[in-house]
């Protein structure tokens, strides 16, 4: 959380970014070394309602292009979104 606080405006770090819409997504089976234990996991690029895009992980149900999503939580500084 400390790192996230330093890098983002305070309200974003506390409340998280979003909400937004899934611009594109994938389900990753072949993970880099540090994420092998998480595989398979879903990654998406989210178009934020407030503008801009963000690469985030998906928590819970799988999402598809066009789905509305909202911020769920930060885990180790990684933003997770879920279907809203």
């Amino acid at each position: 959380m400390t790192e996230a606080l330093l890098e983002k405006p305070v309200e974003t770090a506390l409340n998280g970014p979003g909400p937004g819409t899934v611009y594109t997504e994938t389900l990753i089976f072949a993970a880099p070394e540090q994420f092998v234990k998480d595989a398979p996991y879903q990654l998406a690029i989210i178009t934020l309602d407030g503008g801009g895009r963000l690469t985030a992980r998906i928590a819970g149900d799988r999402v598809a292009i066009g789905d509305a999503v909202e911020f769920a939580e930060y885990r180790d500084g990684i933003p997770f979104f879920r279907k809203s």
């Binding site: 070394e33 690469t55 500084g77």
Partner: protein, 386 residues
């Protein structure tokens, strides 16, 4: 700029070579190239080396003089260029610019990568470093994942299908099976390609290029001096390098590589040709979707028509515009730092009429397209028979 020619080429086979180290591969390619050009190491005035991640893959830095010295090239500028998978394309662009500007006459351009000594998860992690490690990389993106997200969006916007992507793999394996220097000389069927192990949906293992060891080299010189050394020179008619955002989520439209579009336009203008004039090409098929997009970005077909273009056989060896007659990164292999110069070698082999079973009918004007990362660097080169 004065006209420049490629007067020598040299390549190692691409593959997994547990008994070969990075330097021995690069030296083999460089020596073959100098022999091909009838030039001695002492005549070389500069060495430009493309290498993506030697320090991470094999723990060796300061690679350009390390390799040059082992070839007998000493006392001249020796410099490494890093632009992810476009590292040696970038080295080639800068070397041509230097010779074109009159700075040197004889410049050796090399490319090398030694990847197979690391585990696949470790290679995946090192390759991810070609993306934005504070954003997409931190979230767990791999390079297959970035191109999977590009593929998903291309399918969504243009109706591109899994079959069209698989057709790229089937075609490139058919070509690579005819290339004695290819990594995976194996013909595959559409059924196999569609049923591959998932890597990052919708991409399977058959949509991904190979993790390879290998090296390539070309020797360039002013065109007016080419005849002193060889009767097999190829003219560098156009070359351009461009850039774009590193992070995929910073690009407006991920179904096109803006850097490729711009590099293509510049290279066509410099060469005085149009996309429709190009007879054959080597394009950067790091993933099957990348070859489909390359056909669109380079202007061979309109946006969104790249998938049908491949599936209909237009880019097959006997088609109207053969693409990746070498087997491409998919079958020939993708030692990332060697790929850009390797493509130049493959174009020159076709221009000379030396491609054997893979030889295309019309072979006086070819194009090579080298892509770095998910499109942050692009190099497009147009070569013609001298």
């Amino acid at each position: 700029m004065r006209p420049v020619a490629v007067i020598g080429i040299g390549k190692t086979a691409f593959g997994a070579f547990p008994d070969r180290d990075l330097r021995s591969l690069a030296v083999e390619a460089g020596q073959k190239c100098l022999e091909d050009a009838h030039v001695s190491p002492s005549q070389v005035e500069a060495f430009y080396l493309g290498n993506f991640a030697g320090p991470s893959f094999v723990g060796q830095n300061h690679l350009a003089p390390y390799i040059a010295g082992a070839m007998g090239i000493n006392g001249v500028p020796c410099t490494r260029f890093e632009a992810a998978c476009a590292s040696s394309g970038s080295a080639f662009f800068h070397a041509v610019s230097a010779v074109g500007a009159g700075l040197y006459d004889l410049v050796l351009v090399g490319g090398v990568e030694k990847m197979t000594s690391q585990s696949t998860p470790k290679v995946t992690e090192i390759l991810a470093g070609a993306g934005d490690m504070k954003g997409e990389g931190k979230a767990g993106a791999t390079f297959p994942a970035l191109f999977a997200m590009i593929a998903r969006r291309h399918m969504y916007q243009y109706g591109t299908t899994r079959e069209q992507m698989a057709a790229v793999a089937v075609k490139n394996h058919a070509n690579g099976a005819k290339n004695p220097q290819a990594h995976m000389r194996k013909v595959i069927t559409m059924e196999q390609a569609l049923a591959g192990k998932p890597i990052a949906e919708p991409l399977t293992v058959y949509d991904c290029s190979l993790i390879s060891d290998g090296a390539a080299a070309v020797l360039i010189a002013p065109l007016e001096r080419a005849g002193e050394f060889t009767s097999k020179a190829a003219k560098v008619l156009g070359v351009a390098q461009t850039s774009d955002h590193v992070a995929l989520d910073e690009k407006d439209d991920i179904t096109t590589f803006r850097a490729v579009v711009e590099a293509g336009k510049k290279a066509y203008k410099m060469a005085g040709v149009s996309a429709q004039d190009i007879q054959f090409a080597e394009v950067h098929d790091c993933f099957t979707i990348a070859e489909i997009i390359a056909g669109e970005d380079l202007g061979f077909v309109k946006k969104g028509e790249g998938g049908p273009y491949v599936l209909q056989g237009c880019t097959a060896l006997n088609g109207p515009r053969p693409i990746n007659t070498s087997g491409g990164l998919k079958s020939k292999g993708h030692p990332v730092g060697a790929t850009g110069v390797g493509q130049i070698c493959d174009i020159v082999i076709q221009l000379r009429g030396d491609a054997g079973e893979r030889q295309v009918e019309r072979h006086s004007l070819g194009l090579a397209q080298n892509l770095g990362g998910s499109g942050a660097t692009a190099v497009v080169t147009i070569l013609g028979a001298a």
